[in-house]
């Protein structure tokens, strides 16, 4: 027998001076294989055309539909209503700038993070478009790809207590971005160069190890292992610098 779902949804439009933050209830009959993506679209089509939320690929690839579902940041398109209780609370991701209702601006945050981490391959090799790409060991390529799987949904940042308390903290997404370049043999940056970027309390030493990032990542990225790897690497680099080596 189909369940009747009650959605408590955060509503607020910062652009509208008359709008105030509040929760609004919606009721919807559950259908087979219903995801939050489907439910929200039905609510918008059938009950409130003004309901704001983001989506694009509906396949867990674009990272647009991150939101807080019953307290946990996750992707709406990957979340099936059958795995949730009859009452579902939806909030926008914290930390990011609110556009309206469930819709946040993750782009500005990620753009700034890319600038801070200098998120491109640093090489002195001249680029020759006619030349065949340099070959890479398969294990190294897979290690890079493992971190490249990040879809920038922002769930790890929204789950991070440090990021919520301290807006300058790079968060797991930023630190994992560095970890990706640190294993890339084409990037000529040294540990000392990476230390200049993340070897401080705004970077890897700001991480308090609460592991909410690891626990909510919809792509199951190995964030815990990468954060530990970077902290050891940067900690050892600091000791070497102090010893003048």
């Amino acid at each position: 027998m189909a369940r009747t779902l009650t959605f408590h949804i955060f509503r607020y439009n910062p652009q509208d001076p008359d709008s105030t933050p509040h929760m609004q209830d919606f009721v919807l009959e559950e259908t087979a294989n219903m995801t939050l993506f489907i439910a929200l679209n039905r609510l918008r089509e059938e009950q409130d055309p003004g309901l704001m939320f983001d989506f694009c690929c509906r396949a867990g690839i674009c990272g647009s539909c991150g939101m807080v579902v019953n307290g946990r940041p996750r992707l709406a398109c990957q979340t099936k209503t059958k795995d949730l209780p009859e009452t579902i609370t939806l909030l926008p991701l914290p930390v990011f700038k609110l556009i309206g209702d469930l819709c946040v601006d993750t782009g500005t945050w990620f753009r700034e993070m890319y600038t801070r981490t200098e998120s491109w391959i640093h090489t002195s090799q001249p680029f020759d478009p006619a030349k065949e790409e340099a070959r890479m060991d398969n294990a190294v390529a897979e290690a890079i790809y493992e971190m490249e799987r990040c879809i920038e949904c922002g769930c790890c940042i929204a789950a991070c207590s440090t990021a919520r308390m301290r807006p300058d903290f790079l968060g797991a997404a930023g630190l994992a971005r560095i970890a990706r370049f640190a294993v890339d043999p084409r990037d000529e940056r040294t540990d000392k160069d990476y230390f200049e970027l993340i070897g401080n309390d705004f970077g890897v030493f700001g991480c308090m190890g609460l592991l909410a990032c690891e626990d909510v990542c919809p792509k199951n990225l190995p964030l815990q292992n990468q954060l530990g790897f970077l902290r050891r690497k940067m900690g050892i680099t600091a000791v070497k610098q102090l010893l003048g080596r």
């Binding site: 200049e196 070897g199 705004f202 530990g228």
Partner: protein, 219 residues
């Protein structure tokens, strides 16, 4: 005028020159591990009274013979205060930060996040209670079962120990787990086992210290 007197108003983007932060992070983890090791040995020493007052007196006498007690009386208070200074960098003292953390914890309902809040709060309690305990024991002279029993039986001290022992042990176990996670020695594949092991160690420590406290109260 020296350049070091000038404070430059610029946005704190966090980049460049974090060696001081790195040193504080090393100090935090090493002082914490040192204190956890001391606490483990301290728990075993105080629990040796369960085997009899003479056993505790003999163990304490052996330690005093090689002046380990004097060494501990100097090193432990220093480690204690240094660890507080290092760990306090992460503790949210501002109301805005506290509100953000509280909202996050209530929203997320995530065990590790709550464990950290407990750790921060217990750290403050241990700082206060621990200083009181250290001040008394350092000034008490030789470690003897009779002296400890007299202290436990003298009114409010038992309340202090009933708070300090569980809070200190839980703080230490969570701290060692978190140090392992942060520095990558506890990987994702063994995190659940590490949590289980930590809970066993905590349960064992609590049983030992509470049993010892009962023994002191009835000695």
């Amino acid at each position: 005028m020296a350049v070091s007197l000038v404070t430059v108003d610029r946005p704190e983007t966090g980049q460049r020159g974090g060696r001081v932060d790195a040193v504080w992070d090393w100090v935090q983890v090493l002082s914490g591990l040192g204190l956890a090791l001391f606490l483990a040995l301290h728990t075993l020493l105080t629990a040796s009274v369960l085997l009899g007052a003479s056993v505790l007196n003999a163990v304490a006498g052996a330690l005093e013979a090689v002046h380990l007690d004097t060494l501990a009386h100097w090193i432990v208070p220093v480690l204690f205060l240094v660890h507080f200074a290092a760990a306090a960098r992460k503790v949210p003292f501002r109301v805005r930060e506290q509100r953000a953390l509280w909202a996050q914890a209530r929203m997320l309902r995530h065990a590790d996040t709550w464990a950290w809040i407990f750790q921060a709060a217990s750290g403050m309690a241990v700082l206060l209670l621990g200083v009181m305990h250290m001040w008394t024991t350092i000034n008490a002279g030789a470690i003897e079962a009779a002296a400890s029993a007299a202290r436990v039986q003298s009114g409010g001290w038992v309340v202090l120990y009933l708070l300090l022992a569980p809070l200190g042990q839980a703080h230490a176990v969570i701290g060692v787990y978190r140090a392992g996670v942060k520095w990558g020695f506890i990987q994702d594949a063994c995190r659940a086992q590490a949590v289980r092991l930590g809970l066993y160690v905590l349960a064992g420590g609590l049983v030992l210290s509470l049993a010892a406290l009962v023994r002191y109260a009835t000695l």
